[in-house]
């Protein structure tokens, strides 16, 4: 019997062991009745055998010393990263207390505290797996509506796929005197960057597109009237800049 519903994709999936038992049985029946299809399947199988014959020897080659050395290297880099993040948190926390103590708002220090706060927030959430965000990207319309209402402005969530980052989700956080928004993005390797947004409590002083860094976490930020944006991450600086430029462009500044 010839099953019309069997496609070329099924034949590939059959060869690659991707079918469940029921579908596999259907394909096998189809192959038994259909020599042309059976020949195609033999062809794919022999191709896989050719690939193994041509390249499996590499598996048995002794490992070059250089590779083993790299693979065994202690992750000093990672430890330095964590240490620097802690320094940043400490500095930011001290700044926060100082600000609470002054009675008249000092706009300059408020503007300076903004990127530091973005860095702290990023360091806090970027390694979080289970509770990285309050509202996941799947509920984006809800996230936008909720944060727009709480921040008192139309919140837009930029699309950073051009820079290789997809939205993980977002959360509400306290700003200086009003709620602020935090969005987390992730690339294919699991690297993350943050977009931190504040509205109405930035000190009202415009700041040009600027860069601040602890040496580990970099922050691109700008304040435009009542709204401040910061893009923070521990990724390569060009990568972060690319993402920040997209945010800058998409949000219309």
């Amino acid at each position: 019997m010839t099953d019309q519903s069997i496609t070329d994709n099924d034949l590939h999936a059959y060869v690659d062991g991707e079918l469940d038992a029921a579908r596999r049985a259907e394909v096998e029946a189809h192959l038994a009745a259909n020599p042309a299809a059976a020949k195609i399947v033999r062809g794919y199988r022999s191709l896989n055998r050719d690939l193994h014959e041509a390249f499996d020897d590499v598996l048995n080659e002794p490992l070059p010393h250089a590779m083993v050395r790299v693979a065994r290297r202690r992750p000093l880099e990672a430890m330095r990263r964590i240490a620097a993040a802690l320094v940043l948190v400490a500095a930011g926390a001290a700044g926060g207390w100082a600000l609470n103590d002054v009675t008249s708002p000092q706009n300059d220090s408020l503007a300076a505290a903004f990127p530091a706060r973005a860095g702290i927030i990023h360091s806090t959430y970027y390694a979080e797996r289970r509770h990285a965000v309050e509202v996941a990207a799947g509920e984006k319309p809800h996230l936008v509506a909720w944060l727009s209402k709480r921040l008192g402005t139309d919140v837009e969530i930029p699309d950073l796929s051009e820079a290789g980052f997809q939205l993980v989700g977002g959360r509400m956080l306290p700003g200086e005197s009003k709620p602020a928004a935090h969005f987390l993005y992730e690339d294919i390797e699991g690297d993350r960057i943050s977009l931190y947004m504040r509205h109405g409590d930035t000190g009202g002083r415009d700041t040009a597109f600027s860069f601040a860094s602890t040496g580990v976490v970099g922050v691109y930020y700008w304040i435009n009237g009542p709204t401040g944006y910061a893009v923070a991450g521990g990724v390569e600086r060009e990568v972060l800049l690319k993402a920040a430029k997209i945010v800058y462009r998409q949000l219309g500044y």
């Binding site: 999936a13 191709l47 041509a54 590499v58 992750p75 990672a78 294919i188 690297d191």
Partner: protein, 171 residues
């Protein structure tokens, strides 16, 4: 720490095999694996315990490779003339025929994106879902690249004689 060492070192043979097949060049392949190992160490904290270390490292290696290919396209490397003729130029007919019968030579004729899918599925035996994740493409795209890539590879291997003749007469 010992556990991390082991997890990463365990992947090296397969990474090397894939890199060799993908680049078709021993030196380029070893460099690629080396870069991948360095990056994996740097980013080890991003690996999610319990997820496939192999798929994660293949993802890293693929990204490095794609960036290298992109750079090479925008700024082509200068190949010395004698090197060029040694590698890709005309060789005695018999030798060339043997070479193209080799699946490795046929692989080089596939578009890079199809080659990656054919190798990850056929050689590395990753599941379609893992391949989609490694390459950052939807399942449907994995299927269509696999189907086109395999079909082309099969015809190249089967009709290698014709391909050789074309290459030689082009001289």
């Amino acid at each position: 720490m010992q556990e991390k060492d082991r997890l990463i070192i365990e992947q090296i043979p397969r990474l090397r095999r894939y890199a060799r097949a993908l680049t078709g060049n021993t030196h380029a392949a070893e460099d690629l694996v080396q870069d991948c190992l360095e990056r994996a160490w740097k980013k080890f904290h991003l690996w999610q315990t319990g997820s496939s270390m192999r798929a994660w490292m293949f993802t890293i290696m693929h990204n490095i490779y794609v960036n290298q290919v992109r750079k090479a396209v925008s700024r082509p490397t200068v190949v010395a003339l004698n090197e060029w003729t040694d590698d890709r130029g005309v060789k005695p007919v018999q030798e060339k025929r043997v070479e193209v019968r080799n699946v490795g030579a046929a692989l080089e004729m596939l578009p890079e994106e199809q080659r990656a899918v054919v190798l990850l599925v056929g050689l590395e035996e990753l599941s379609y879902q893992e391949v989609a994740k490694v390459l950052g493409i939807p399942m449907g795209t994995v299927m269509s690249r696999l189907s086109r890539g395999r079909e082309k590879l099969r015809s190249l291997v089967e009709e290698s004689g014709v391909v050789v003749k074309d290459t030689v007469t082009e001289k």
